[in-house]
């Protein structure tokens, strides 16, 4: 064993990225490639009465036009998220119904992108329209159905009694806005058929093996007839996990036209056809004793989905894990609107859930005249109150204490509007962060070569999280050879199934599998070190030693609850004359078990905090209240932070490896950083101005004067 785990290692694929040689989905050079341009609906609710494609078909360069009238055949996959999954349960072009503005209603194929786009503009569509459901105030809510096998509703103790007898009560409603993932790489796919029964798909996907099975099911092919190639992903955050309708359509049409076909979404098309985080409305009722012991929490959540799929923003998941409370009640409701289909976005549920809960905790702390750090320390829970399992290796209190120390929190005056600087109000706020420790099955192949190098192969992928490097570092550690001598290959479905890059589980799933495969190689070689094994290889003249190993969670899941923890401390300034809010200083302390690559892990947290700052300050995707059409449709109208919005961010990690969780003790770090950020900011704004803002984002109009 060498000692690279936990140190700071530069990305192994960094060179490819800085020289422009890393190849993303739309960039694979394939001969004979033709281009598709989507036709999208201009109404939000209705039926296509007539669609006239004749002019488009005659336009120069146009090869074919597809609409619901000549839709290519695809089969509904199992869509269970075990074998396969598609984002939208309605297959593209399956009928003439329009469920949301911007929905895909056709595809024009031409020899160049420009000619396909021109063709798409020549298609004439007539609709019968109905008033769209887009007003969050006017839609009907129903109890949310279970999601991925889990019920939402939960009750413990007696909520009515808990609330009735409380010394202090907080009751407030918090809202969060519709957010777009907005990765810098737009969605893109190239589908290339080799005959009618073998398909290669070049598409960024967070789940390589899942995509392979999904496309196989869509076209009723055996899985081995489908190959997914996704070496690089230009940002995903949840919106590139499984196929969207445009991708299914691209693959289906490519088979029809018998040419490799590329479809790239424009920014405008991404707004409706590539997911978003649903807006939420959350009512929280907290009750506590005079000395700050929680006696009741009721958390009721409303979120929205599209007419063609059910996705529930699962905000109540965090409520039973944060604070000990004898009386607890959770409820989630869902309404259908004529909007594109929402989906997972970085820390789905945890993020908006903590926005509400951590804001309410701050309100409670002020009502109690108690320091908010102390309130949290007092109410920390040792067990997951829904699963009834104790937390493993929980260091939440350390996060709070170390964070307070690094920030200088104890100097905070316990009074609003008490700090100023350069004519601006200054405020300090804090909030907790949390994210479950997830882990899945993963397989990895390791090949040790006589020249002292090793290849590590897995159909996992790196969407920017640093998985390439995590794999290399882990292999280097076990084999005892330098990181530079490890070559990692990922993102190809021909390699062993590396599982899903989602739920921050890639590291937790992969690292143990890499460890196991490396150990297996050494065992096969009957050596204790890689250098011995390589020497033996050279002597024997053999080409390589190879081993494949898998790892998966086991009985520990029944004994422990695994969860990562953190605390954010924020300083903001508010220029009340113009309502300008700036985040000026930040400390995040995280407990994620073993940190494998300190540089990459800290970078994940910083990036997530900045994304959280965006959520708090500016991100919102409006729809036109009459037409339901997105009025925010590009990067000039959908704001997320630029360089100038970035404060200094101090990130630290505390705690020990969580060895109950996996042999490495690493819990993953991709999402936790964004949770709690917007609450920390709103809490700091309250301290600065005395204004309690309960509706995200905290735009200037809410802060002026």
């Amino acid at each position: 064993m060498s000692n690279v785990i936990g140190t700071s290692v530069s990305r192994t694929e960094g060179r490819a990225k800085v020289t422009g040689s890393a190849t993303y989905s739309a960039e694979h050079q394939i001969s004979g490639l033709v281009h598709g341009y989507l036709i999208t609906a201009s109404v939000a609710n209705g039926q296509i009465r007539a669609i006239d494609t004749r002019e488009a078909e005659k336009a120069p360069g146009v090869i074919a036009v597809f609409t619901h009238k000549n839709a290519p055949k695809v089969f509904m996959p199992k869509n269970d998220f075990m074998n396969s999954k598609i984002y939208e349960a309605r297959l593209p072009l399956s009928d003439n119904q329009v469920h949301y503005a911007g929905q895909i209603i056709g595809l024009v194929v031409a020899d160049t992108f420009e000619r396909a786009r021109h063709g798409a503009h020549l298609v004439k569509v007539e609709y019968d329209t109905q008033t769209p459901l887009i007003d969050a105030k006017k839609v009907t809510f129903k109890e949310a159905p279970p999601q991925f096998g889990e019920e939402f509703a939960f009750a413990k103790g007696n909520i009515a009694a808990g609330l009735a007898n409380a010394a202090i009560k907080i009751e407030a409603t918090y809202t969060s806005s519709t957010e777009l993932h907005a990765p810098i790489e737009p969605h893109a796919i190239i589908a290339h058929w080799q005959g009618a029964d073998a398909l290669t798909v070049y598409e960024h996907t967070q789940w390589v093996a899942g995509a392979q099975r999904t496309y196989a099911e869509l076209f009723a092919l055996p899985a081995e007839k489908v190959r997914i190639v996704a070496p690089y992903i230009g940002g995903a955050f949840g919106c590139k996990a499984v196929p969207w309708p445009h991708a299914i359509l691209c693959a289906a049409v490519a088979r029809q036209v018998k040419r490799p076909l590329k479809v790239v979404l424009s920014r405008r098309q991404m707004t409706a056809n590539a997911g978003h985080r649903s807006e939420t409305e959350q009512m929280l009722r907290l009750a506590a004793t005079k000395d700050g012991m929680l006696t009741a929490i009721a958390h009721e959540v409303k979120s929205y989905t599209s007419p063609v799929d059910v996705f529930i923003e699962p905000c109540t998941g965090i409520t039973p894990v944060m604070y000990t409370v004898p009386n607890l009640q959770l409820k989630q409701e869902l309404a259908v609107m004529n909007i594109g289909t929402p989906t997972f976005m970085r820390a789905p549920g945890e993020n908006p859930g903590l926005w509400a809960l951590e804001s309410a905790m701050d309100e409670l702390a002020w009502a109690l005249k108690m320091d908010p750090v102390e309130l949290r320390l007092k109410n920390e829970t040792r067990e997951h109150q829904r699963k009834g399992l104790p937390f493993s290796a929980k260091h939440f209190a350390d996060c709070l204490n170390v964070g307070a120390e690094r920030f200088g929190w104890n100097d905070r005056p316990m009074q609003v509007r008490s700090l100023t600087r350069d004519g601006k109000r200054v405020g300090w706020g804090m909030a907790a962060a949390t994210f479950p420790g997830l882990r899945g099955r993963a397989s990895v192949k390791v090949r040790l070569l006589p020249d002292g190098t090793a290849h590590v192969l897995t159909a996992a992928n790196d969407m920017g999280t640093g998985a390439y490097t995590v794999v290399a570092v882990t292999a280097a550690e076990v084999l005892g050879i330098p990181v530079e001598k490890i070559r990692v290959e990922m993102g190809d479905s021909r390699l062993p199934d590396g599982g899903l890059a989602g739920g921050s589980q890639m590291t937790a799933s992969l690292a143990p599998a890499v460890t196991a495969a490396c150990q297996e190689v050494l065992k096969t070689a009957n050596c204790t070190t890689a250098s011995e094994a390589c020497a033996a290889l050279r002597q024997s003249g053999r080409g390589a030693i190879e081993a494949t190993a898998s790892s998966a969670p086991g009985a520990e899941m029944k004994k422990w609850a695994f969860q990562s923890w953190g605390a954010h401390f924020a300083e903001v300034t508010v220029d009340e004359e113009i309502g300008r809010l700036r985040v000026t200083r930040w400390v995040s302390v995280m407990n994620i078990g073993q940190v494998i690559n300190a540089k990459a892990a800290a970078s994940q947290v910083r990036g997530a905090v900045i994304m959280g700052i965006g959520q708090a300050l500016m991100e919102e995707a409006h729809l036109d209240p009459n037409t339901g059409y997105p009025v925010v449709y590009d990067l000039a109208t959908y704001h997320f932070p630029a360089h100038a919005d970035t404060p200094r961010i101090d990130v630290a990690f505390v705690g020990k490896p969580d060895l109950n969780f996996n042999p490495i003790g690493a819990r993953g770090v991709g999402e936790i950083g964004i949770t709690g950020v917007s609450a920390a900011i709103a809490n700091a704004v309250y301290h600065a101005t005395g204004k309690r803002l309960r509706s995200l984002p905290l735009t200037p109009d809410k802060l002026i004067g």
Partner: protein
């Protein structure tokens, strides 16, 4: 000139290699060309000039008239606009060895997903040769993954010469620095036709005016940061284009004792560098204007020519009482900018006319002893943003601090950039103090009827109109 033969090819140099293109549309963007020719290192993130993933470096003239690497958004550059020029993309800067900016980005973990990285690399590359590796170098590059901090560290590392072994580079000299010694970035005249579209780049104003007369259907194009959006999304056909970028008369920037005259085709980054310190309100607004990649192309003539109600320079220029010089075949005329904006996106320009320059007087009012002048841009984001409201104020005071002259100009509050004339008149003779400000604020709040849009509500804008004036008073009186 008008009889000049239309050539059917364009030449440009990409990463040191000369390419000769035939039949291509002059409005194909440089990014589209790079992508189609398999040079996919330069990325498309938006096609709108917003993200900077498509940044390339073009060798162009700096404020010292010498060649510089200038970062630009290739998604907004019509191919014909860079005819004859040298372009460097991310693929061209490592020569076996990484360039110092690349090495630093690897070391600090400046890429996560990596899709934004080529754009950042080129922005840093251009700043490296300009010795301007501060934060503003990457203000026009968006990254959704890293939170920018490792990129900032990379820039600092290179600036302080610490990008490690690979950073000390270029045995036998830096070929990129050497290159700048040998090129003349002057734009040559061009007449090109391809894809049934004509693109003219005259070098004399008289030629441009004649072309305009011969082709009434033509459109004038300067930096194309507005028009480029139409090109990149093919929203508009451009049968004939006349580029103003090479016209000598439009490239002047003269500083006289009494006034400054800025040629209509001078890019904003050059104005920023040359006039720094002359007009504080102009400095301030240029700082907030888009981002460096856009300012390297966008011109002052384009900014007023496009007559957007949320254009950022008009309020500044209105508050400085600027004039516009306009040329037509029959002669020239100079009018106050205040009379130039007619209605929503409509100007006083007549068919066949071209904006030649903008003249900004320096003198303060005759009876005044000092001038206070500043501008404000309120957007949602730190940089790279469109205004909710932009404002610029110029107040001339006499020796007793009474207001002799006042100009309060706003963008984003009406169909055109406007001045609050009635209120300016009320201010005259009043003392410059908080009492006056408090009297005027309610009037300002009701002076305009702004709209509610996705950037801000009408109510918020009204408050801003008044509060920005108070902010101006507080800041210029040192009351903070």
């Amino acid at each position: 000139m008008t009889t000049q033969r239309l050539e059917n090819h364009l030449t440009l140099t990409i990463n040191g290699e000369m390419v000769r293109l035939k039949e291509v549309s002059p409005t194909m963007t440089l990014l589209q060309y790079l992508q189609q020719s398999g040079q996919t290192g330069t990325k498309e993130g938006c096609g709108d000039g917003d993200c900077g993933a498509c940044t390339v470096a073009v060798i162009g003239q700096g404020c010292d008239r010498k060649p510089h690497y200038q970062a630009m958004n290739s998604c907004l550059i019509p191919l014909a606009a860079v005819a004859g020029q040298e372009i460097v993309t991310v693929e061209g800067i490592a020569n076996g060895q990484l360039h110092p900016v690349q090495a630093a980005m690897v070391q600090t973990g400046g890429s996560q997903c990596g899709y934004c990285t080529p754009g950042f690399i080129i922005s840093l590359f251009a700043a490296y040769y300009d010795r301007t590796l501060e934060d503003a170098a990457v203000e026009g590059n968006l990254c959704r993954c890293t939170g920018y901090l490792p990129i900032r560290r990379a820039a600092q590392r290179v600036a302080s010469g610490q990008s490690g072994d690979e950073g000390v580079l270029h045995v036998g000299g830096d070929r990129f620095a050497a290159k700048l010694e040998h090129v003349t970035p002057e734009l040559s005249p061009l007449s090109y036709t391809g894809n049934n579209q004509q693109f003219y780049r005259p070098t004399r104003l008289s030629d441009a005016l004649q072309l305009l007369q011969h082709h009434p259907e033509s459109i004038l194009v300067a930096g194309a940061t507005d028009l480029g959006l139409e090109m990149s999304h093919h929203r508009q056909a451009f049968p004939v284009m006349i580029s103003l970028e090479a016209i000598a008369e439009l490239q002047q920037l003269e500083q006289m004792a009494e006034f400054v005259e800025i040629g209509a085709a001078v890019p904003l980054s050059r104005i920023e560098d040359i006039l720094r310190g002359v007009f504080p309100s102009l400095d301030e607004m240029l700082h907030w204007f888009a981002a460096r990649q856009v300012r390297n192309r966008a011109t002052i003539g384009g900014n007023i020519g496009t007559a957007s109600p949320i254009g950022d320079l008009p309020p500044v220029l209105l508050s400085l009482d600027a004039e516009v010089r306009i040329a037509g075949l029959v002669g020239e005329r100079t009018i106050p900018l205040a009379n130039f904006f007619k209605d929503y996106r409509q100007t006083d320009l007549q068919p066949g006319e071209i904006i030649v320059s903008v003249i900004i007087p320096k003198a303060i009012a005759p009876n005044a002893t000092r001038r206070l002048s500043q501008s404000y841009k309120v957007g949602k984001r730190g940089t790279d943003d469109i205004s909710i409201v932009a404002a610029a104020f110029t107040i001339d005071l006499d020796s007793e601090d009474r207001i002799v002259q006042a100009r309060l100009a706003y963008g984003g509050v009406a169909a055109t950039p406007v001045r609050a004339i009635a209120i300016e008149q009320q201010l005259i003779g009043k003392p410059w103090n908080m009492t006056t400000i408090q009297q005027i604020k309610p009037l300002l709040e009701t002076a305009f009827t702004p709209l509610t849009d996705l950037r801000g509500t009408a109510e918020y804008r009204k408050l801003l109109i008044a509060n920005l004036f108070e902010k101006f008073f507080v800041e210029t009186s040192g009351l903070q």
